[in-house]
Symmetry: C2
Subunit: 374 residues, 2 copies
DNA sequence: TTTGTTATGGAAACCGGTGTCATAACGCAA
DNA sequence: TTGCGTTATGACACCGGTTTCCATAACAAA
């Protein structure tokens, strides 16, 4: 110590490193997980100073900081998330909470979020739940509280559950909702941070596409009532039709459940009649593929006898025969954006990240009047 | 305290509860997360004794145990996983590590594992990785070590990566591999705990099914070389054929990559020739659906001109036209079993959990000789 | 040189549990 | 009743970080 005091600033640091060099070497040889105490000892500073360096606290001399960082790098120190979490009273875990939408959707969100989280020190805990169960809210409350989550990502449909949002507010945990952008006429809009997709716009494109092909009698398979996405998609499609003075024909509208079976059923209902539509828009791909089955059962050929459009652009959309024209949502990007919102406090303040939908035109849509063609 | 000593055993407990009753009430009113100290204070025992109760340590008087449990229940105490993990030097997190197999597979495993984990206090952290990346092993090592995982679930194909297994052994973390059961002729079998599926048996059933329908010229689309599942499926199919003295015809075998595109390509290669096979087995559904596309492009009708069998029974299998005959694996059950292995030390000792494959017959397979039918 | 601030670093307590070890309480034979 | 081996319990240090509070060093102004 005395010698340290005697030497000048810049030399001090060097001297310390030199003196400690073999200690460091030996430590590395021991090949044990390093702790903050090891760093402090080898860098000849207090734990607190190391802690300051780790947390980018401003009041550390540059010289000291470098010295500490040098040791950290050399012995490969990584602060223990559990210990840090305990002290912070907050873990380094994000929770992904969902109620069983389709697998492809979940995996894409997951993969996007993880992509953004890579290297940040956060990890993702997945937590499916059942919104119909009695202790649904209690169950989530306990999960979030017990794990002291650093953030929560909510997927539809529970992202629209106000009771759940209230619980999260109460727990004071940062959260982000992934959902379809709200139209103007909706009940009090939710203001919490969200990643929203322009479902409405996508469906408008779909409607315009069908209109451009000359379709007039168009069937519409709605998503389940109560889902924001179902409402938005319907509204968007209607808006698209309205540009040519049309609107969704109540006689040609059937509610589905976002499932293949419900799509099949809806398809049969719409197609098994003399004045059947020449095109059907289904509010997601699953149901669109159900409509395919219905068409097949009735001996109708797509796209000659019937045009079909779906929503989601799942991998299956490109694989069915004929490949399905569908509205595409950049789900992975939405996952990425959701993670971004939780990671960057700046982003959280922006509240809404908006992503666009686009139309992927494949072979399931064709002109309405093929019948009259040679 | 003196009064406590003066009263008799049974009364003591009652007295304590009585005395503390209002303290408990008041605590509950404060509505703050309870800690072990609160429990200790209210139950008038030491932290350590509470800890003993939590961990089912045997040396606690029944009376004391009840008293403590009573307080725990009343104030809703749940030990903090972070603090517990820190002290145990092990978290309560399981890691699910995978390298990008298909979404459906991951979600099913995930959902099965989570189903089994519900209520155990463990949570699941998902961690995709890229086995081609340079720091693949280092990346996983750091993840597992830093999070001090309580267990790791490995999915194919990395479940067969011996270097990775060595890392996990070195870290001394419990892990379980999900994989296809090894045939006898394989290189030194891996003995670590695993959940294995009888892919071979499933493929044998597929072969028998085709043989029973009279097929002789059968195409085979292999999975990627190096994948255990690819090897096993091939072997099983071959065994099935061998029962009638046949075997996979090298001229009718094409290697695929478990992807739609590779299935399409393989299908074209196999079908675009005069002596085309009357049936094709694809080593997974994705590729089978690729074969569908190939058949469509060549104007072949399934199942009249060509029978197709896949493997996995993904949701898509039931939705394509015609619905695909395929080998079904209970993926969710495998996820459940994997979690079980990590949760129950007994189960871990059993080393292998075996699950069966079955054949789901749908409409993509038909008799070989339809050509000669009326 | 002395004084008044402001940066910097350290000791000790704390986050909420567990491990070790000593001691108190208990059951039972002598 | 005494003695002794168990069994039950508690005191205290510890896991690996952070925070509070205070002492000191560094530097500008007087």
């Amino acid at each position: 110590m005395a010698s340290v005091k005697n030497t000048q600033g810049t030399k001090t640091s060097q001297a310390v490193v030199d003196t400690a060099a073999d200690a460091v070497e030996e430590f590395i040889r021991r090949r044990k997980k390093a702790t903050i105490n090891d760093v402090a000892r080898l860098a000849r500073v207090s734990k607190k100073t190391v802690s300051r360096v780790i947390n980018n606290s401003p009041s550390v001399r540059n010289e000291t900081r470098e010295q500490v960082n040098d040791i950290i790098a050399r012995i490969g120190f990584r602060p223990d998330p559990q210990a840090r979490g305990l002290a912070f009273r907050r873990s380094f875990l994000f929770g992904l909470i969902y109620d069983n939408p389709n697998a492809q959707y979940i995996v894409n969100i997951q993969s996007g979020a993880l992509d953004r989280m890579r290297g940040t020190g956060f990890e993702l805990v997945v937590h499916p739940c059942d919104k119909e169960s009695d202790d649904f809210l209690e169950e989530i409350r306990e999960f979030v509280e017990l794990q002291r989550l650093a953030g929560v990502i909510l997927l539809p449909p529970i992202a629209e559950n106000r009771a759940l949002l209230a619980v999260l507010e109460d727990l004071d945990v940062p959260y982000v909702r992934v959902t379809a952008m709200h139209g103007a006429e909706n009940d009090p809009p939710i203001l919490s941070p969200q990643v929203v997709s322009r479902d409405r716009h996508g469906c408008m494109l779909a409607a315009e596409h069908l209109l451009a092909l000359g379709h007039k009698r168009i069937g519409f398979v709605t998503g389940p009532a109560g889902y924001a996405s179902a409402r938005e998609r319907r509204q968007g499609f209607n808006e698209g039709l309205s540009k040519q003075g049309l609107s969704i024909d109540p006689a040609l509208e059937v509610e589905g459940a976002y499932s293949f079976e419900s799509g099949l059923e809806a398809g049969l209902k719409l197609l098994d009649r003399p004045d059947r539509p020449t095109a059907i828009f289904a509010s997601n791909d699953e149901m669109a593929i159900g409509v395919y089955r219905a068409a097949f059962q009735l001996g109708l050929h797509i796209p000659d006898d019937l045009s079909v459009i779906g929503f989601d652009d799942t991998p299956a959309a490109g694989r069915v025969q004929p490949p399905l024209t569908t509205v595409r949502l950049p789900i992975r990007d939405m996952g990425r954006a959701a993670a971004e919102t939780l990671i960057d406090p700046e982003a959280e303040r922006r509240a809404s990240t908006i992503v666009s939908a686009s139309l992927t035109v494949r072979d399931s849509t064709g002109p309405a009047e093929t019948i009259f063609k040679p």
